[in-house]
């Protein structure tokens, strides 16, 4: 109980991180599952989202908190830019089937994006202001906790539920799930897979940018953050199972706790914990903890 008293805030923080991690990672997972493309520019897309927030909302000491409307506009702008970026990435990766050449292509794009970002925003860290009304602390069992993080958690859960409903209960979701399992068969029954997969790519990138924008008030925006985010997202989807939504949820929850609870209780060892956990999972369950149910994902 005493341990819980000392750590429950970190655990809540872990769930807030998990929500943001899920938003960013789920696109990476779906794109790999459906298109067999490992999009290493995913972290850069998320960072672009964070910088859109920084540019539209400002931040730092003394800056006025933006209104909820402004914040919503920034998130929508990030979503739109992410959507566009996803379409471009889908077009570029279309026809590049080899994983290694995909890595060359998407990391090349990530390098260009990260250079252009630091050129336009400078190399210094930018903080992003939380919207008015959420920029204060709330009381949780007698301890102060930033309200914005609870909002971010709630927003992520909401978006996650929407993704789940679309994938499990709509026609288009069924086709996407089928594409994860067997893309050739989906084409054979008459679905234009390039269109469908481009859409998945666009939505996935859009979610990453939204995740980055929502993470802005928590993580800030900084050059180099794209690599960090990419590594986190990779660990999340690999632990959960590439192509699996449930896996992305589980991976995000685990890594969220490692990043908060792990860092506060184990300090230095926490960084080993994340990659050690990934290595262990992969050795015993190479397909991840909750692999895509019908999936051939990762198997080829």
């Amino acid at each position: 109980m005493q341990w819980l008293d000392a750590n429950y805030l970190n655990m809540i923080d872990g769930f807030a991180y998990a929500g943001l991690l899920f938003l960013i990672a789920v696109g990476l997972s779906l794109v790999f599952g459906t298109m067999d493309v490992l999009n290493l520019a995913h972290g850069a897309v998320a960072l672009i989202g964070a910088y859109i927030g920084a540019a539209m909302l400002g931040g730092g000491a003394g800056a006025a908190a933006p209104s909820g409307l402004q914040f919503g506009a920034a998130v929508l702008a990030a979503a739109a830019v992410g959507l566009l970026g996803g379409v471009v990435l889908a077009m570029l990766t279309n026809g590049v089937d080899d994983h290694l050449r995909q890595a060359l292509l998407t990391l090349g794009i990530a390098l260009i994006a990260s250079d252009l970002i630091s050129r336009s925003f400078g190399a210094d860290e930018r903080s992003v202001a939380a919207p008015r009304g959420l920029d204060k602390s709330v009381d949780i069992f007698g301890e102060a906790y930033p309200a914005y993080r609870l909002f971010a958690l709630g927003a992520s859960v909401l978006i996650g539920i929407v993704i789940y409903l679309v994938l499990e209960h709509t026609q288009i979701g069924a086709v996407i799930r089928a594409a994860v399992a067997d893309r050739a068969m989906v084409e054979a029954i008459g679905h234009r897979s390039t269109l469908l997969l481009g859409g998945v790519f666009a939505v996935g990138a859009s979610l990453a940018a939204v995740g980055g924008a929502l993470a802005g008030p928590v993580l800030g925006a900084q050059s180099g953050l794209d690599n960090t985010i990419l590594l986190w997202a990779l660990v999340v989807v690999v632990i959960g199972g590439l192509g699996s939504i449930r896996g992305a949820v589980l991976g995000a929850v685990l890594i969220g706790q490692v990043l908060t609870l792990g860092v506060s209780t184990l300090e230095e060892q926490a960084s080993y914990l994340m990659f050690g956990a990934m290595a262990l999972v992969l050795l015993f369950k190479p397909a991840g903890l909750l692999p895509a149910r019908y999936g051939a994902a990762g198997g080829h």
Binding site: H99, L100, D115, S271, Y272, A279
Partner: protein
């Protein structure tokens, strides 16, 4: 055949003559090219030949460099001793970590090697004996007991060239040996290799250890060149560049990845700082994206031959 040998001889001659015709700074950069080139060659042994895409080579590169640094500071400044001990320690670390990693393959292997690289990176980043995140500094090395300390950029470059040539020779020899055939068989069809009575696990592990040892040797050369090594020299960024150099150069050809590494380092350390300050990432990114579309088989695929049918450079080590 003769023309190939002639090309090799000319390249070798040009590399050896570099310090005589170039000012010190470009010579230093070329030394880095050689050290990183060997890392890329070692990555190609796994990625191209054995079909195991790896991000761990910079970790063994770091192990080699730090070992050489510790040997230099506490044991001897002799370069041969540093090379041997650094290579041996890197091979030992590769054997222990590889024993686990090579149980997997494909993307999973890539992620396991990423985990290994990150953990070794964090280890050096927090180990105070080697200066943690500040890095490790060593004095100038010597070539033989009682010899003069090597200070000239050209002499250090020649040492790096020596290490590169030995390492490259080992890689080519391995690729042409029966072991090399088994490595390619692991890439093409592990089940068939098992069926004819070989153990894929053993083949994978042996190639992993050889690749780790070569990367470690490159690390010792890097330490000699720079007299300085930090965890920043073995981070995720460089791990990715080593893998990309392989793909850029042409996986499976060994010399192609060395060329790819040269392009990467020359852009990062010479072209960008000279002509476009701060634009290294932009140029590298553009080179990578361009290569995906313009060079389907990497730099090694550009060959001025007129033969109608030629074997894909991806399948065989060219002679």
């Amino acid at each position: 055949m003769n023309r190939t040998r002639l090309t090799y001889a000319l390249v070798l001659l040009a590399l050896a003559a570099l310090p005589l015709i170039m000012p010190p700074y470009p010579v230093r950069v070329m030394g880095t090219v050689l050290a990183f080139g060997l890392v890329a060659v070692s990555a190609d042994l796994l990625t191209g030949l054995t079909g195991l895409p790896t991000l761990a080579q910079v970790a063994y590169f770091g192990v080699g460099a730090y070992t050489a640094g510790l040997v230099s500071n506490h044991l001897t400044t002799n370069l041969f001793a540093q090379l041997l001990i650094g290579t041996a320690v890197a091979a030992a670390v590769a054997a222990t970590t590889g024993a686990v990693a090579v149980r997997t393959s494909g993307i999973v292997f890539l992620m396991v090697t990423l985990a290994i690289a990150e953990m070794i990176h964090r280890f050096f980043d927090s180990w105070s004996v080697v200066g943690a995140s500040d890095g490790l500094i060593v004095g100038p090395p010597t070539l033989y007991p009682g010899g003069e300390p090597l200070l000239l950029a050209g002499l250090l470059y020649w040492w790096a060239l020596f290490v590169f040539l030995v390492g490259f020779g080992v890689a080519v020899t391995v690729a042409r040996s029966p072991l090399g055939r088994s490595m390619r068989a692991v890439r093409e069809s592990p089940t068939r290799l098992e069926a004819i009575g070989q153990h894929t696990y053993v083949v994978k592990l042996v190639s992993f250890v050889i690749a780790g040892a070569l990367a470690g040797a490159a690390g010792t050369a890097m330490m000699a060149l720079k007299s300085f090594f930090t965890p920043g020299h073995m981070g995720f960024g460089l791990a990715a560049l080593a893998l990309l150099a392989v793909v850029l150069g042409g996986a499976g050809t060994l010399w192609g990845p060395a060329l790819g590494a040269a392009v990467v380092i020359l852009v990062r350390d010479w072209a960008a700082p000279t002509y476009f300050v701060g634009g290294a990432e932009l140029i590298l990114g553009a080179v990578f994206v361009g290569a995906v579309f313009a060079l389907p088989h990497g730099l090694a695929g550009i060959r001025p031959t007129r033969r109608k049918h030629r074997p894909s450079p991806l399948t065989e080590v060219t002679t």
